[in-house]
């Protein structure tokens, strides 16, 4: 056979052999046979010297072209085999995607904290300071400075927990008002809320709790009127309960404010048409408020001729019960995780 025919035959045989190559071992054998230094093709190259000089160039090109063809075919085959091997490997690594992920599920929060945190965020955003009072108070701060006179029924042993003649468990977060006002020396404007625990001598039942939470708000400055109170509470209510909520004020009474009002919010469930949540009235009572009584300002160091202010107080449990449809306040304090799991915050 002419060397040129030998090259062609070799190419045909190589391509035939490559067809049968299916794994890495066969691939290596093929490479050794056709592409290595000691392969037949290399051997043919060795025969160059037997070829007339004028044909050597053409022959060399044929050999190199053939080699390139075989190499290209080999590489394509190699890639196919490797891809297949990878596919098999990956398939073997298949997992159950539906198993639970590895994380801590975020813990729940007692619903009262949800309310407190939301309110603190809203009022902090409106420029209120957050002030924290103490649970143990003197009757001077809890009652006297708040215009609750000595013989007022609220001061009876029947209604208030006493530690001694003058120490008691605060019955209202308003006690923190007086501390704060006195700390400001009767001069600085005040804008604060005070969240905290309160205590009253009530037997625990579905709607009463000897311990409960309140958030007290107080703004004192020159020219603070009921219009400021109304605007502030309107903004709060829209942020807390939704843009569409409205408020209305009803005349009421608290010893430390005058005038005093109860504040109702339009029912979120029926939008004011009347339903079982709002007992058909379209409105739900959510807080008490009013213009700070001149006596309170005076006793706490602010001249009522110069300064005025408004105050409000919200019951935390009541808001939590309304929002989440909780039927019994004792559930809040039982802290049963099966109950708490539904309440969360970021």
């Amino acid at each position: 056979m002419e060397p040129k025919e030998q090259v062609e035959a070799l190419e045909n045989k190589a391509m035939e052999d490559l067809n049968d190559v299916n794994d890495q071992d066969a691939l290596m054998n093929f490479r050794n046979t056709y592409l290595a230094k000691k392969s037949e093709l290399s051997a043919l190259m060795g025969k160059m010297k037997d070829i007339p000089a004028e044909l050597r160039g053409a022959f060399g090109k044929i050999v190199n072209d053939t080699r390139a063809k075989i190499e290209a075919a080999f590489n394509a085959k190699k890639e196919a085999i490797e891809r297949k091997a990878m596919e098999l490997k990956l398939k073997a690594e298949e997992i159950d995607l539906t198993l639970p992920g590895r994380t801590h599920q975020a813990g729940a929060v007692n619903p009262c904290w949800v309310i407190v945190d939301e309110m603190m965020d809203i009022f902090a955003g409106m420029g209120f300071d957050i002030v924290e009072g103490r649970d143990v108070e003197t009757d001077h701060f809890n009652f006297e400075l708040l215009n609750v006179p000595k013989d007022h029924p609220a001061r009876d042993m029947q209604d208030t927990f006493y530690i001694d003649d003058s120490l008691l468990l605060r019955t209202q977060t308003s006690a923190a008002q007086a501390h704060y006002m006195l700390s400001k020396g009767g001069k600085e404007p005040i804008k604060m809320i005070c969240p905290g625990k309160c205590f009253r001598r009530d037997d625990d039942d579905a709607t009463h709790s000897h311990q409960f939470g309140q958030i007290e708000g107080l703004v004192v400055d020159k020219n603070i009127s009921l219009a400021d109170l109304k605007g502030t509470l309107e903004l709060f209510v829209k942020k807390m309960f939704g843009e569409k909520r409205e408020i209305r004020l009803r005349s009421s009474f608290f010893p430390f404010t005058e005038p005093s009002v109860e504040v109702d919010v339009s029912c979120a469930k029926c939008g004011g048409k009347g339903c079982n949540i709002c007992k058909g009235t379209g409105w739900i009572e959510i807080l008490g408020a009013g213009e700070v009584h001149p006596n309170v300002l005076r006793m706490c160091g602010y001249d009522p001729e110069v300064y005025s202010g408004f105050a409000f107080g919200v019951g935390i449990e009541r808001l939590a019960m309304l929002r989440y449809g909780i039927d019994d306040i004792r559930r809040i304090y039982a802290n049963d995780i099966r109950f708490l799991k539904d309440f969360s915050e970021k």
């Binding site: 001598r201 219009a227 009421s252 009474f253 802290n335 915050e345």
Partner: protein, 797 residues
């Protein structure tokens, strides 16, 4: 307070005003109407006369009646079960289609006999049982012989066509416990005229009977002597009013007292003059001993209880209840009427202590106006003459130590508008106050003088005047605005840190709880490690289990965890931040309790909670607050209380002060608390101390220029050697050692039981050049030598 609209109409014209509208106006003005109730109700009613009455053949108690229902409706056959049904009786018939409070009447067949309608009792028309006699409850109502047969306005005929407003009153409106003042309020709200009844003065002279007071708890005591009264049933108009107002009619004399109280708000007490021990009544508060009241119960009185005595014997527990000895009866001829002003707080304390209250005592408790005593006595005497045939009225000298000044409040238009945030005109304000029965005198410069009605004892200053304006004109007149001024506000650093800690713990899967701050005797000193002091103890606890303010919170948290453990939650991870108080202590603690296992991926991957779980949270908090852990010192907890596991618990100190206790619970304690054998881990941390610590300013750090070389070192040492101590000693050997980390700690098979195997990774680095291998090896040799020498370690590999 129940208000009869029928009676109210005698004073104010309510034409065109629906009860709902009136109720709403009152409510918005601060006089809340809790409910609107009909005294009785029923449609399709008619007065009938029983013509025939024969026993039902198929029943032992039913009768078959023929009832004449007048010209319009004729005679109908009715089957009736009432025992008092009889021929000739006038009855209330509910005809076919009648809607009664509990039933709708239909034509029907009762045991084979047709029945068309029902004869009714007042109970069936909705009248409260307390106003009815036993006979009235047991059978059908027996109407008088002259009752108009065929009359369809039966409720009107009976005086039961009344609507009752039930007022829920606040402490500032005690005046609303008087019908006359309710009328004034309604007049102000509706802008209608109020006409109060006038009563004639029948007093013909002075009585020698003396009424007086020996205590400053009663500064006003007036009396009248009424002679030769005749006790008999009250006229129907009066008993109807009393029924509507929720008071049962007894007899004319007793009813007059109640009527005057309902009208004026002034409680009236009556004594049988002939049963008193002398011709004086004096109020005192120094009586001690037994007292038998009109209810025939005996009460033990103490000093401070106000009594009205005659010859030093108490005749009346002042303002609350007369004694049995001198109460008026059907036989009473001569009466002493008392109208006094007793100190409310005294009455309240006595009333609460004895558990004895009345309509009268509650009026004293809420506060009485003292400016109408003479008028009240006049009304009472007049009614005694007109309704009880009294022959003689004599006036006693009134004991009166009160100043009786006119209440005049000075204010101005600017003040009122400024306080309310409104823009009312002078005319609006003046006309509003005027219709509120305030006498306004205009001064110069928009100032007013307001003379307040005597019954408005709640009003004391100009703020009260502003409230009158807005409650009558309506809060909807206020245009909302926001406070001006640039107060910055927002959270303090400590508050932000607290929020961050809470968020961190929740993200770690812990649930935030809220527990009671009051605890029992057993819990008050439990888990007392980081805060001490004598507990605050209530002098008036409601129950034994809530008697002390807590000074530490783990006991409460463990109780909450145990509750959940007992209620199908074997794995519990909870925390709480709470104030703690004791004498000399104003603290705030964070408590964490972990029970069972931590879930890393559902139930698939779980890890049992142990000491390192809570330690990790504590270290996480230090890191979160940018507090260098080296500022804290850990020491084994030394305690003989068997609360914590003695070898798996620690105290953390910042300087000298303990700021945290943490550890696994002692197995005996865990069992005692109801956790069985489940592992329980707890932490209590003084947050005040932590949040007060100065944190170092954060500065950007430059990554090291030269590479870090690491070498591992494994050895076996005694179990009692602490890792932290070994690390500290290694770090001291050379400044090239920049860190030591533990990556294995093992005790168990293959290691002697008193030993443990430790594997450390040491990091070496210099800031100014690359380290040479020989240098590191040389230091490693020193390290090995040191731990052999100092810790008696056996170096492996």
């Amino acid at each position: 307070m129940k208000i009869s609209l029928k009676w109210l109409k005698e004073f104010v014209n309510l034409d065109g005003i629906e009860p709902e509208v009136l109720a709403s106006k009152l409510t918005f003005a601060g006089v809340e109407v809790e409910s609107i109730d009909k005294l009785a109700s029923g449609t399709n009613l008619v007065i009938g006369k029983i013509l025939t009455c024969v026993p039902h053949p198929d029943s032992d108690h039913l009768h078959i009646l023929n009832v004449d229902e007048g010209q319009k409706y004729g005679v109908h056959q009715i089957v009736c079960g009432a025992p008092n049904a009889r021929v000739g009786l006038n009855v209330i018939v509910a005809r076919e289609g009648a809607v009664l409070p509990c039933v709708t009447i239909e034509k029907g067949v009762i045991r084979g006999v047709e029945s068309d309608g029902m004869c009714c009792s007042l109970l069936e028309l909705g009248v409260d049982k307390k106003f009815l006699s036993e006979k009235q409850v047991a059978g059908i109502e027996e109407l008088p012989e002259d009752a108009p047969v065929g009359e369809e306005d039966v409720l009107g005929y009976l005086g039961l066509d009344d609507v009752i407003l039930d007022l829920s009153l606040l402490a500032n409106r005690p005046d609303m416990y008087a019908m006359q003042n309710v009328a004034m309020e309604v007049g102000a709200l509706l802008e209608r005229e109020v006409k109060l009844p006038e009563y004639k003065e029948y007093s013909t002279g002075k009585s020698d009977f003396v009424v007086t007071s020996l205590t400053d708890k009663c500064k006003l005591f007036g009396g009248r002597e009424i002679r030769n009264v005749v006790t008999k049933p009250s006229p129907k108009w009066m008993s109807d009013i009393l029924t509507s107002m929720g008071v049962r009619s007894i007899n004319n004399v007793v009813d007059i007292g109640n009527f005057v109280m309902l009208l004026t708000g002034q409680p009236i007490n009556m004594y049988d003059a002939d049963k008193l021990l002398g011709r004086t009544l004096e109020v005192r508060e120094d009586f001690e001993g037994e007292y038998v009241a009109m209810d025939e119960q005996s009460y033990t009185l103490a000093k401070g209880d106000l009594v009205v005595s005659s010859n030093e014997v108490p005749m009346c527990l002042a303002g609350i209840m007369t004694s049995k000895a001198c109460a008026v009866t059907e036989e009473t001829k001569n009466v002493i009427i008392e109208a006094a002003n007793f100190f409310g707080a005294s009455i309240r304390r006595t009333s609460n202590r004895l558990g004895l209250a009345s309509d009268s005592s509650s009026r004293f408790v809420k506060g009485l106006n003292a400016e109408q005593n003479e008028k009240v006595l006049r009304i009472c005497s007049a009614l005694m003459v007109e309704l009880a045939d009294a022959k003689e009225v004599l006036s006693c000298d009134t004991y009166d130590e009160l100043p009786h000044e006119k209440k005049i409040i000075k204010t101005s238009l600017a003040y009122i508008n400024g306080r309310l945030g409104t823009n009312f005109s002078k005319e609006e304000v003046v006309s509003t106050l005027t219709r509120d029965h305030i006498v306004v005198k205009e001064l110069e410069d928009g100032a007013f003088e307001c003379e307040v009605p005597y019954y408005r004892i709640d009003m004391g200053g100009e703020a009260d005047i502003s409230e009158e304006v807005i409650r009558l004109l309506g809060y909807e007149n206020i245009t909302s605005k926001l406070p001006e001024g640039g107060h910055k506000g927002g959270y303090s650093e400590a508050q932000k840190n607290k929020i961050a800690i809470r968020r961190f713990l929740r993200n770690e899967g812990l649930t935030e709880v809220l527990t009671y701050s009051l605890v029992d005797l057993k819990k008050k000193d439990a888990f007392e490690y980081i805060a001490h002091g004598e507990n605050y103890r209530l002098i008036n606890p409601l129950t034994d289990d809530k008697e002390y303010m807590r000074k530490n919170i783990l006991a409460s948290l463990l109780e909450t965890a145990a509750y959940n453990y007992a209620h199908q939650n074997k794995d519990v991870a909870i925390y709480e931040i709470s104030d703690v108080d004791a004498k000399g202590l104003e603290g705030r603690h964070l408590g964490i309790v972990l029970v069972g296992e931590e879930s890393l991926a559902g139930k698939l991957e779980r890890r049992t909670y142990d000491f390192y779980s809570v330690k990790g949270y504590l270290e996480g908090i230090f890191s979160l607050l940018n507090l260098n852990p080296q500022r804290f010192r850990l020491e084994k907890l030394k305690s003989d209380k068997e609360e914590f596991h003695p070898y798996r618990s620690a105290m953390i100190y910042a300087g000298k002060d303990p700021i945290a206790v943490l550890g696994e619970l002692h197995p005996n304690k865990a069992k005692e608390l109801g956790f069985g054998k489940a592992p329980v881990v707890a932490l209590e941390l003084n947050l005040v101390a932590l949040l007060d610590m100065k944190t170092s300013e954060k500065k950007a750090s430059v990554p090291p220029k030269f590479p870090t070389v690491t070498r591992d070192l494994a050895f076996v040492v005694s179990r009692s050697e602490d890792y932290m101590n070994i690390k500290r000693e290694i770090m001291r050997i050379d400044r090239m050692i920049v860190d030591v980390d533990i990556f294995d700690s093992y005790q168990g098979v293959g290691i002697p039981s008193d030993k443990k195997s430790i594997a450390l990774s040491l990091s070496f680095r210099l800031e100014d050049r690359t380290l040479k291998d020989e240098e590191v090896s040389a230091i490693m040799e020193k390290v090995t030598g040191m731990i052999k020498m100092k810790f008696n370690a056996e170096v492996r590999g």
